[in-house]
């Protein structure tokens, strides 16, 4: 027998369940408890860059919208810097780059306001196209799903992006691209996420 290795095991995941809002968005569950809920303001008032809205549906394998999802977003600022001590560079005061959003209980639509991130230089010097990292939990999802949103008006950068290029099935790369439209209030990117079946979104093991 050899010496035992003394690593611990990661705590196993469990579904967030149907009442995730109580913990992470109590206002949506129907009550007011905290001084301030976290995650509603991603970019803060001082961030440079274009103000955008991102919206979409999460759709299940039957084609129905999922109405009890919680999504979290994690993104860099317009200069491509994450608000984190391990990423060199400064972000604007109030820029957190993290957000939390839930779906409308009746329609399944979700939306958040932020700024469009810039290209991100990775630790190895490679450049990733502008993107927002998304994490999706819900009843029936046993382990949170990671995906990325890329921007449809960044075709050239997307074509060079090392993560998009690593997707062997070229026809599935499109599932990570949000499409831009202009409204009176500004630019909107549409990003529907398909959990299963035709057009299934690419999810990552990160």
């Amino acid at each position: 027998m050899a010496q035992p290795l003394d690593y611990l095991r990661e705590t196993p995941s469990q579904t967030a369940g149907p009442y995730v809002h109580i913990g992470l968005a109590p206002g949506a569950a129907g009550f007011d408890i905290y001084r301030e809920e976290l995650g509603w303001d991603i970019a803060g008032p001082n961030a440079a860059g274009e103000r955008i809205r991102v919206e979409g549906l999460v759709i299940d394998g039957t084609g129905s919208p999922v109405k009890d999802v919680l999504l979290e977003a994690w993104q860099a600022n317009a200069a491509g810097i994450y608000a984190h001590p391990e990423h060199a560079g400064e972000v604007e005061q109030g820029f957190r780059g993290w957000g939390r959003v839930i779906t409308d209980f009746d329609t399944g639509e979700w939306a958040f306001d932020t700024i469009k991130p810039g290209p991100v230089t990775d630790f190895n010097g490679g450049v990733m196209a502008p993107h927002i990292n998304l994490w999706i939990v819900a009843r029936g999802i046993n382990l949170g799903l990671h995906t990325r949103l890329y921007f449809g008006d960044e075709a050239e950068a997307n074509a060079a992006d090392p993560v998009i290029r690593s997707i062997e099935w070229e026809n599935r790369r499109e599932t990570l691209v949000a499409h831009r439209s202009e409204r009176d209030a500004g630019a909107v990117y549409r990003f529907d996420i398909r959990l299963q079946g035709e057009g299934e979104t690419v999810f990552f093991d990160i």
């Binding site: 611990l8 196993p12 369940g17 149907p18 009442y19 109580i22 001084r35 979290e72 990671h146 990160i206």
Partner: protein, 242 residues
């Protein structure tokens, strides 16, 4: 900019798989294609940072954080405490831990919960805190009740507390549930049993912690949480250009 250590590969044989037929809701919500393996980039190694400005000290006391003045929720008073560690057994300091749960009767304060057990006017059912420099956290709350749910015709969830934890990088993000030692409903629960093996399930069962009880006040349960660990960067033998 030197690359910080990547997170260890997540052991997906230890976690529940996406498709677990006895937990019916997973059937239409589980991806069918294989996940795409992605080496950690700066986007996965970094993650949101929280501080004491974000929360209030009372947020971790579910006995008082929604009670009307001079009143308290009904039920068994408990302390839930433990450490957040990584797979290298190092503490994870200053990380946000959020919980939510049903009241003592098994009812959630949620507009979608229609179980006939009553809402407790003095119990909200959520709390949040930051771990300290050694990774410790604690909550004071009421032991949640079991509740029925629509899966098979007569399924009951064991008493449980939902946990959400961040860690230092977005790749560590985790939501899970804590169960209570000795609960016979655990073995019958289709959600608890999405976990492939008994050893992994045991990691979600908090033991009674008699030493941490407060005499004539609160009983205690200990629940340690382990997030993914990171490689050390002592040696990097990567070929040029990779």
């Amino acid at each position: 900019m030197p690359k910080p250590g990547e997170f260890y590969q997540r052991d997906r044989m230890w976690h529940p798989p996406a498709l677990t037929r006895d937990y019916k809701t997973s059937v239409a919500r589980s991806p069918q294609y294989a996940l795409l393996s992605l080496d950690n980039t700066v986007s996965e190694i970094t993650g949101p940072v929280f501080g004491h400005n974000d929360i209030d000290p009372i947020d971790n006391d579910l006995i008082l954080n929604y009670a009307q003045s001079g009143e308290m929720p009904i039920g068994e008073r408990i302390i839930v405490h433990g450490r957040v560690l990584d797979e290298n057994a190092r503490p994870v300091p200053n990380t946000l831990v959020e919980i939510w749960q049903a009241n003592a009767g098994g009812r959630y304060r949620h507009r979608k919960d229609t179980y006939l057990a009553p809402i407790d006017p003095n119990f909200g059912g959520c709390g949040r805190t930051l771990t300290d420099a050694d990774g410790y956290y604690h909550f004071r709350t009421i032991k949640p009740g079991a509740y029925p749910w629509r899966n098979w015709r007569n399924d009951w969830r064991p008493a449980h507390v939902h946990f959400s934890v961040f860690g230092s990088g977005f790749a560590q993000r985790l939501i899970t549930q804590m169960y209570f030692e000795g609960d016979p409903l655990i073995a019958r629960c289709p959600i608890a049993n999405t976990i492939p093996g008994p050893a992994a399930l045991e990691q979600l069962i908090a033991p009674l912690d008699h030493k941490a009880t407060v005499p004539f006040d609160s009983i205690a349960y200990k629940f340690d949480i382990v997030l993914r660990g990171r490689r050390s960067t002592l040696f990097e033998n990567r070929p040029e250009g990779n």
